[in-house]
Structure formats: C-alpha cells, structure tokens
Symmetry: C2
Subunit: 336 residues, 2 copies
C-alpha cells in the first residue's frame, strides 16, 4: 500500500516533472521573480474582448508552451488535469477545448495546481498514464469582478487583502525522465475556523495550510529540517505568520525555511499589493517559473510545495457563510 | 500498463461499489424510478434559508447515508471526491466541510459522478486508497437561478429544455467487497460543435457522448452488444436521438440497448419536463438508486455508464460562447 499515515501517499516510482510553463501579467513580471517567468504579458486583455476570454487564452498558451518544452506530442498526453477560479472553471474548460485529449476538470480554488499534481502523480504511478499535462490559471481583473467588486468601482482594498496573480502555471508530468520529480503527496481536508472576510483570505487558509503541513510531517515521520524549503501557495503576509504560529502549537518550527508564493511574487515596498499575491496562478507560476529552476539547478534538493485554496464563492459570501480553506502538499525532489 | 487505446484504462483489480445513496426531490420521487430512491424530500428547502444551502444539506446527508450503508467508518475513508453545479462547487465544498477527510474537488458539470468514479477507481486500483467516498449533487431551483432565469420570473421553458434533478447520488468505492464493481474507464475529451442554446443541452452534449461511447468501443474492442445496457447521463429526448445518429455514423448501433437517465427519471406524459431530466444528480441518483439495484440483482450484468456534462457558465453564455460537452464512461459489472 502506497497510502501512509492519515492523509498521505508515497509514490512507488518517481513521477517526473519534465517541463513547466509560466505566463504572467505585467505586474508579476515587474516583481522580484520576473526573470524566472517564460512570458510576461504587456496587455492583460491579450487582444481578447473580455478578461475571462483573456484568461482562457493565457491558459491555452501556457499549456501548449509546457507541452512544447517537454518535446512530448499532444497525442501522447494521456490526461489533462486543470482548473481555475472562474465560475464553472471557464478558464480551463475553454482553455483546453481545442486540445482534444481526456480531461479531468478539478476545483481546488488556489490550491488547484497542488490537486492537479497530486491526482496526476497518482494516475501515473498507478500505471494508468505515461504523460499528463496539468495547469492552473487566474486573472486579477476577472477574479476581482467575480469575488469582490468590479475594478471600475475603484473600491479601496483593505490591508489584509491579496492581489490575484494574472497568469497560468502548467507542467508536463511523465513516467519517464530525469530531473525534478514528485515522490509523495498529502491531500488536505477542509478546515474552516469561521473567517468570513473575503478580503482576508490569508487568515481563512492558514489553518488548512498548517493542518496539511503538520499532518504531512506526522504521516511521513519528517520535520521541517528534512526539506530545503516549505512553500505555501498564497497566504500572504497575514497567513504566513499565522501558519508559523499554528504549526508551532503542533510542535513544528517553520520559522527557518518556510516561504509563501504570495510573498515572493510581489515586492512589498514597491508594488503595494498589501498582503501579497493570491489566485490559482500565484503558486502555479511561482513553482513553474522560480522553484522549478531552483530544483533543476539543485539549489533546492527537496521541497514541500503546499498550494492553498479558499473555497468561497460569491454566493456563499453573500449568504453569510464562512470561508472553507484547503491545502494540498506535494513533495518534489531535484533528482539526478 | 493499464492504459489502453486512446482514452481508456482497464483496471487490474475490481474496484467495488460497496454502497450507494440516493436522495431526491418530490418531483423525482413521483417519477417512474421513485421506489428505487433512498430518500424522497417533501421540502426542497429542507428547512434551510436558501436553495444553495438546501443543496449543501442534501449533499451532506447523502454522503453520510452512503457511508452508513457501507458500514465503513468515516476515518477509514481515504479520499472524498465530489462536485456539483454551483459556482465554485459550493454544494460539495460546504457539504463535506464537516467530514474532515482528504478532499479532491472536481468539476465536470453533469458528468461529475462519472469523473468521480473514474478518478476514485484509478486511485484505489493504483494502491493509493482502500476506501473512497464519491458524490454529485444538483438542485433545480439553484441551477435555474444560476444558469438561466430566477424561477420567480416565470419564464417559459422551451421544449428542448431539460429539468435539473434535485438530489444527490453518492457511493462508497472500496478495494474490498463483493457485488458490483468498476472494471474499466474511458475518460472523455471536450467536444464542442458550436451549440449556444442553454435550453438545448442535449444537443450540446450528444457529440461528446457519442465520441466517448464510440472511443470506448474502439479502445476495448467491444461493441454495443457486449453490454446489457449503455446509459448516458442527461441528454434527454433530443440528445438521446442525436447520440444514436452520431454513433451510427461511426458504425455502432445503439438503438437496441441504450438508455438515458434524463429520460428514465421523469414520466414524459404526466410530468411535463419537456426534454427530460438533467443536472449532476440526474445520472448520479439514477445510477445510485435504480441501476445499482439492477446490478445487485443481476438483472444487469455489465453496463456502460456514461455521465454527460455541459461545461457552460453564466459568464460563457453571456459572452456568446458555445457550450463545450464532455462525457466519461465507466464499465460497471455485477460481480459475484
């Protein structure tokens, strides 16, 4: 049995991440990680007539770029697994529409890339596929319109709010390859401590992040020092600090080597995003651009990648519901 | 390799469907399949304050009922895989929130139960889990409000429209058991022939259904006569006929043993749903209630279950997009 502990699995064989693709918006390109991204868009509309259609185009371009970089032909992709934040996963469904390969649509909000890597790794390790294409996208303008206020209103953003990353991070997983590979996963459960503020998603997600990270250590019998870096998805400054505090209560010291993609992707001083970055593309592009290169260069040998999601909707917020959080952990090693 | 043909997989071991649960609304309970359902609700609000919260309650009750009937404890469920039609999968996320087990949220619109059974079967056969809880829900009132018009407007429904089933169909999959089991899957690709009418989803989904069914036959080297019954999800009268025509062009005769859950669940003469039933719960409850009992009784020994989905959203429709369709096929055998 590959299932270990309460929520985890150890893969029998390495599942290689043979290529990644990262496409981001102008603001992300001007941030500290700018040089690591494949494509930086000047125009957030990418010549389309709506933000949603722009997201579809970005997702499509990025999935195709990951494929191109892998050298694997589309017909040899056994499954596509992807998701996004738009209602009924419009970015993904329409983004992969022309690709004509078996499609497993997922919804994990901003944890989507973690869920995609997890399901993809299990399908390949279970001998059901040789190659799988995964991806996750988000678009600042489309997300603000859908979850908060239309941008044209000019609503003031509170200091706890995060900035949805525009872009798409994709990857090709394969049974065959060298280099960075997935060796284990810990699938998160929903944790909801009652946060209702849609402008404080870091606080809403931190309990789920801490829960998955601590469960991972227990299931694998490891501790923070066994990883070069532990990286959450998009908790931002508020959630990052909360996660450290929550893990400390469980006896794990995250203060030394714990980073958050939402903090890394924007510069706090010059880019004024308040609590940091968020969105499906936040962890997806930061991994696909920045961390994947660090793994390739062996600057990082083992990372615990923990994309985090707020499972809210406009409807749930309007009906006074709190925000359920989730986080999925994936162990990625640098390989040969 | 368990992957066969272009889009399929043959499981190495049987993945047993050890229990199912079906909760439906009053109208579905009055239909031809009424006696097969576990619970028939008198009140579509189930004492909640909104249709969406009612759907959450129905999903939660149904998942718990499937679990109870399986005799398996919640702590022994390794993964929950579920989805629904509400924005950001509100029915599922909030429906399983209290269950505290690893959660893989999926979005396949009305094909969701097919996707859940497929992913669940691969995870169990891949040795990553012993028991998995799967489910899919929909609610007529919530779906009409979200995808078409609020009911209070009294908008006239055209004759091609289908009636979203209120309810939830859930199941427990296990490595261990006897009785009905999953033996193979064919995962669908998106097919979009340009249908834009949100009131004619049968026509939008039929090309995807026919594509998956014909691909399944080719991948497994089978033909319609190798199955006691082939069952699509929610094509209704319009889509059922189109699917027969499309399959015929590929050389497969579906006219003998092909049924559609959307046709079975409501009585055409007395219930006036126009083209039939639809929604995630249409195929999920018809399988969980009706077909599961037929499999248990050996009235059916082998079925090809093909839940079908329209991957539209309010946003995509309003922006003039066509409706991408998808269908996932699952081979279910009656077992010992």
């Amino acid at each position: 049995m590959k299932h270990i502990g309460s929520q985890s699995a150890k893969l029998q064989y390495p599942v290689y991440i043979v290529s990644t693709s990262s496409i981001v918006g102008k603001k992300e390109g001007e941030g500290p990680l700018g040089k690591y991204f494949d494509v930086i868009l000047e125009d957030l509309m990418v010549e389309k007539e709506s933000w949603e259609k722009a997201e579809i185009e970005i997702a499509n371009k990025s999935l195709n770029l990951a494929l191109e970089k892998s050298g694997i032909k589309l017909k040899d992709i056994d499954y596509i697994i992807s998701g996004d934040l738009l209602n009924q996963s419009m970015g993904s469904n329409f983004g992969i529409r022309s690709m004509e390969r078996p499609y497993l649509g997922i919804f994990g909000a901003c944890s989507t890339i973690g869920e995609a890597l997890s399901i993809g790794a299990m399908i390949i390790d279970g001998d059901f596929a040789t190659n799988i294409l995964v991806g996750a996208s988000s678009h600042f303008c489309a997300a603000e319109k859908q979850f908060r206020f239309p941008l044209n209103l000019g609503t003031q953003r509170p200091l706890t709010s995060t900035w949805t990353v525009t872009g798409d991070g994709s990857a090709v997983l394969s049974k065959n390859g060298t280099g960075p590979f997935i060796s284990g996963i810990t699938t998160g459960k929903i944790v909801d401590l009652g946060i209702k503020d849609v402008n404080n998603m870091g606080a809403a997600m931190a309990p789920a992040a801490a829960d998955t990270i601590c469960t991972h250590f227990k299931d694998f019998g490891t501790s923070p020092k066994d990883y070069d870096v532990i990286v959450t998805g998009d908790l931002g400054y508020v959630g990052h600090e909360l996660t450290i505090n929550l893990a400390e209560k469980e006896g794990f010291d995250l203060s030394k080597n714990y980073e958050d993609c939402g903090i890394l992707i924007f510069d706090r001083e010059t880019q004024d995003t308040h609590s940091g970055g968020s969105g499906c593309a936040c962890s997806a592009t930061t991994f696909a651009g920045y961390f994947y290169q660090k793994l390739k260069n062996k600057e990082i040998n083992k990372m615990l990648f923990v994309p985090t999601g707020s499972l809210l909707s406009q409807t749930s917020s309007q009906q006074g519901e709190s925000i359920p959080g989730i986080a999925h952990a994936v162990v990625i090693e640098s390989g040969r």
